[in-house]
Symmetry: C2
Subunit: 326 residues, 2 copies
């Protein structure tokens, strides 16, 4: 039996999300799982016309999406139309909220989110630091429990998980803790096993300092925090190695020795991820009761609406979402 289609939340209407959705449909693989978008159909029709792209937009309910997909981009219409005002923010949030509901109801198999601009949502009363935290809240509401979302950047070349993310570099050492490393590593190992089908996932942890501190001569966080965390994870039976010097853990032979790298901060994880897979990296959220992927880029307001945006990352996000919900 066929799985339900994927659902795409449209993201910021002034960003590149909408044109990527149009492009992704134009470049659709008829063998791949269909998707539908939660969006303003009028906005998408106007955009397609402005760009001169032949993308018929079909307003449907989720159950009709798979049928419609061959002939048109299936769109579930937002109640908040995109009119270029503050109303837009409500529509952006509504798209995420309803997309998660569709997954919860079984009307969609997995969620792919297009980029949002957080600053623009705060004005509309959005109370979460970002996408991921909002999804954690929706997951708790619909599935119960207290999910701890974990961001992984995935490409065929490399999967990385940053333990701290959007914080000043000077705050990183103070934010590291044995408990946070252990909690994150458990989620990564669990989801690599259950979602990615790896029987015994191999995790590599980076050090924080140059050369992973060289036995304490360049920083003590490895000795005080990271190594104790690794010991405990190993005692739990997980395949965890490290702390590895971050500069020598991302060349091809090193990458072959693990399935995901847990890094201590944003750039340590994102530099190798984006150096190796700039166009087709996928942001996948682990630790949720459902599958959520996202293209690994932002709204790119500077090029939005011109038809220039590269759909590779959205296409990869769609592909991965389908793979993780077989």
């Amino acid at each position: 039996m066929n799985r339900p289609p994927l659902v795409v939340s449209i993201g910021d209407p002034a960003g590149i999300g909408p044109e990527l959705a149009l492009k992704a449909w134009l470049q659709r693989d008829t063998q791949a799982r269909p998707f539908f978008v939660v969006a303003d159909p009028v906005h998408l029709r106007t955009l397609a016309r402005e760009l001169g792209w032949d993308v018929p937009v079909s307003e449907i309910e989720p159950a009709a999406a798979t049928m419609a997909y061959a002939q048109a981009l299936p769109v579930v219409a937002l109640r908040h139309a995109f009119d270029g005002t503050g109303n837009d923010a409500h529509g952006v949030i509504e798209a995420i909220t309803r997309a998660v509901e569709f997954v919860r109801q079984g009307a969609a198999s997995a969620l792919v989110t297009n980029p949002i601009a957080k600053q623009r949502l705060y004005a509309a009363g959005f109370q979460f630091p970002g996408h991921t935290e909002y999804l954690g809240d929706l997951a708790a509401r619909h599935w119960g429990g207290t999910p701890q979302p974990v961001m992984m950047i995935w490409s065929p070349a490399l999967a990385v998980v940053p333990l701290t993310i959007h914080v000043p570099l000077k705050d990183v050492p103070g934010l590291l803790s044995k408990d946070a490393i252990i909690a994150t590593a458990r989620i990564v190992a669990h989801d690599l096993a259950t979602r990615f089908g790896l029987e015994r996932p191999r995790l590599a942890l980076s050090g924080l300092n140059p050369h992973a501190g060289e036995s304490g001569s360049m920083g003590r966080e490895e000795i005080d925090i990271i190594i104790p965390a690794i010991r405990q994870l190993q005692a739990e039976g997980l395949d965890v190695r490290g702390p590895l010097p971050a500069d020598t853990m991302f060349h091809p032979a090193a990458r072959a020795r693990y399935d995901a790298a847990l890094c201590m901060y944003h750039d340590q994880a994102l530099i190798p991820a984006k150096t190796l897979a700039f166009d087709d990296g996928v942001n996948v959220t682990l630790g949720l009761p459902f599958v959520r992927t996202s293209p690994d880029h932002g709204t790119a307001f500077d090029i939005a609406g011109k038809g220039l945006a590269n759909p590779s990352s959205l296409l990869a996000a769609l592909q991965l979402a389908a793979r993780l919900t077989p």
Copy 2:
């Protein structure tokens, strides 16, 4: 007229330097510039025999090196033989000291240094944090002035300069200064012009924080330190851009926009350098009155003496040293 040969300081006799010198001679390109080694010839002969490699070792003075090179590895003999005792450290230091003297005398065109183990030299009274500082001291002694050596990791794919190096990550923000960035950028621009033949070198500076701080929302070092430094460098007529988000400045299209990246700390520079060119990166010291290159790896005591070490980086270091002294 032919240039004098390159000189290689042998590095730690218990590391992989000696076997790399043997391998580099075995794999010598007869069209490329010859090199000679400052080393213990008995130690090298013994090592070649143990490894079963056919490398005749010819004890010579520098002037005879080019002639000898076709038939044998030319070696200028150390006064301090390698006997496996504390004497070894004196030999390691002597090799560097005399190699620089040969460059100063015009008996060698450029210096290539094999890896040393600093800890092992401290016991013998070595008073410098590392190779680079010792070379700065020798340069001041022989050429005068107060040279400021700057480490660049170079490969055909990417050249990076870390502004801070072997310090704990938590100390990095406090060590950054506008003056240090300006002084380093001037040296890099100068040497890229004079040694690498780039008429107008293009430098890219990274930010310190994720997304280069996103206008101060994730750290202020960009606004307080890096941007003022860039403004001053631009006012001096240098082609300097930044601060760039470190995660998006190392994919191929981004790299095409600059000749060297100045990064704020060790892993920010070395992660992309070693991810992209693990085997054939070269450490080149800018800011010296002579050319010095080095393989971009350490002594690798764990695999030394087994003939397993990969000579790609030493071969690339020899090639670059010749290219920079045409």
